[in-house]
Amino acid sequence: MTRYVIGRLGGVVVILLAVCLFTYLIFFKLSPDPAVMICGKTCTPDRIDSIRDVLGLNQPLLTQFWEFLRGIVAGRDYGTVHCSAPCLGYSFQTNESVWNMLTTRLPVSITVAVGAAVLWLLAGVAGGLISAIKQGTWWDRSAMALALTGVSVPNYVLALVLQYVLVVKLQVLPFPAAPAFADNPVLWFESYLMPWTVLAVGYACLYARLTRANVIDTLAENFLRTARAKGLSRPLILRRHALRPALTPITTIFGMDFAGLLGGALITETVFGLNGIGKLAADSIAKNDQPVIMAVTLLAAFFVVVGNVVVDLVYTALDPRVRVTSS
């Protein structure tokens, strides 16, 4: 088991390195000269040279990449400025430490992801479950029609519609401002309500369909017939024998979806103006702020890859048939 985990974590490092290198190469090749960007309008060739020197831009590409990696682990020095580990460099735009930018933005993205996840799990799993139990009834048919519709609404369209109806027309919600929870809990909740809903709708519909399909498959299993033949009560049969086999695969999918969201809900955060990782990504891309783009890409990849390992470990705990083999 320990060997397995170590092996998997090794894989994580390799993939993250690959993501890092790939991103580094692409942006090194594609982007305009960072030195010119930082230098701004009042620029002299001398200044550009000194900036190049400080950032190490005159060194070969691989040396630069190595410096970048070393900075994450051990910190690095830019001229006289020391950037302590984990060092992801400084924003070309604001000179802020990229690490600090990430840590201040991350709580917003986590709030968005957790709230949405709670909503979609409750709605999706419950909806799918009821549909499966009432298979073929009008409830089932309308719930599944609704789920198909919900899957088909692009989330920015939904976001704009909700904003138009709830904020502009009916004025029941304020425009999202995302204050700290402690400052104004009510406003906090109202601000996050729309982003949560917008993100949750698509997933909820997807999970409803998944849950329904899985539960129906499980209800047809032979071991369910055994449970009935044993004289167990229907609630016990459903709770113990149907739910666990039906929902275990969904944990896997949930883990991946949630991990993906932690890396920033780019569109939702942008549309609602929430200062999370997703909006940071969009902003940094718009301004070609390379260190920040690099960092958000890496962070998102980190969540996905680590999420993958966590999901596999959780799955081995949930399904007794799955044995860990170090291959």
């Binding site: 690959a18 899957v151 920015y156 138009y164 999918i253 979806d257 809900a265 780019l266 890859v305």
Partner: protein
């Protein structure tokens, strides 16, 4: 795709619900039977009709706009109220006999013409991306599943890598830093580059199962070459999965294209695309909601129709393989 945004959730769903395990060794459902079943389903028929209209709009865009009177890039300053900052004259965003869907605020371009031309862009990009991902996914999935060993290792690692990538962030970043060039082609390439592993993973798994089946063993024993095995014995049995996965990925790609254009890294103005129209409607939606509603509705209905259709096709194929 695990990044939120113009998700392609349907991809994920197919992997888990429809085709997770057994590709089914029985005779594949014939195209005729699929169409026959669909024609008898009212919802499917409705979706087909709507999609047909959209496709016809896309194909005959120049003809249609000649009929409607306004091209996609013609400015009609008479249709907007320049005193009110360019809000269209009349209610409902300036819908009239002249401009069937109203006009764009500020510059007065005809929305109908832009929807028609936008359909062209959206559908071309989505279909090309589907074809490209289909080819890449099937080829790499077959290779990995059939040859196993180091081929499988190499392909699987690349897939892991691509699937770990925050695809949306990366697509935006790449598209925004690339020179304008031929945007639609770039979009197709970028979408496909990150899209194929999802199909390949399923194909790989099913190929592995099929390669061990009796009929493949039999063909191998009777001296069939690898190429013949793959094309005659394995590929026909994967047909159902390929059809279902690719149909269900089309709405995802339409959404992705629209999403990227919405974020401003898709097709460049003045070329119209639905996502780009929605994007430019954002600053107007409180005063001119129709500007947002019209492309939004078209996008939604198209994605919905494709999703419903894909779903129906899947249930026909599943039922066909079960019997």
């Amino acid at each position: 795709m695990t990044v939120a945004g113009p998700r392609t959730p349907t991809l994920l769903e197919v992997e888990e619900v429809g085709l997770a395990g057994d590709p089914g060794g029985g005779p594949p459902t014939s195209t005729g039977r699929i169409l026959g079943k669909l024609a008898r389903d009212k919802a499917a028929l409705l979706c087909l009709v709507f999609l047909l209209i959209v496709v016809l709009m896309a194909v005959f865009a120049p003809l249609i706009t000649k009929l409607s009177g306004w091209g996609p890039d013609e400015f009609d300053s008479g249709a907007i109220n320049s005193d009110l900052g360019g809000v269209p004259h009349g209610s409902l965003g300036g819908i009239s006999g002249e401009h069937w869907f109203g006009v764009e605020p500020q510059n007065g371009r005809d929305l109908f013409a832009r929807i028609v031309y936008g359909a062209r862009v959206s559908i071309t990009i989505a279909l090309s991306a589907t074809v490209l991902t289909g080819i890449l996914g099937v080829v790499f999935g077959l290779l990995a599943g059939f040859y196993r060993g180091w081929v499988d290792q190499a392909i699987s690692r690349v897939m892991d890598f691509l699937m770990a990538f925050p695809a949306l962030i990366f697509m935006i970043a790449i598209l925004s830093s690339l020179p304008a060039g031929n945007r639609p082609v770039l979009l197709v390439v970028v979408i496909s580059a990150f899209g194929w592993p999802y199909l390949a993973r399923v194909i790989r798994g099913q190929t592995m199962t099929l390669a061990n089946r009796e009929f493949v063993e039999a063909a191998r024993a009777s001296g069939a070459k690898n190429v013949a095995l793959v094309f005659r014995e394995i590929l026909p049995n994967l047909r159902g999965s390929i059809i279902v996965m690719t149909t269900l990925s089309v709405p995802g790609y339409i959404g992705t294209e629209a999403g990227l254009s919405f974020l401003g890294v898709g097709v460049t103005p003045p070329t119209a695309s639905w996502g780009q129209m929605i994007s430019s409607s954002v600053s107007w939606y409180s005063v001119d909601p129709m500007f947002f509603a019209i492309p939004g509705t078209f996008l939604f209905l198209t994605v919905l129709s494709l999703t419903v259709l894909g779903d129906k096709i899947r249930s026909v194929i599943d039922a066909g393989e079960a019997t």
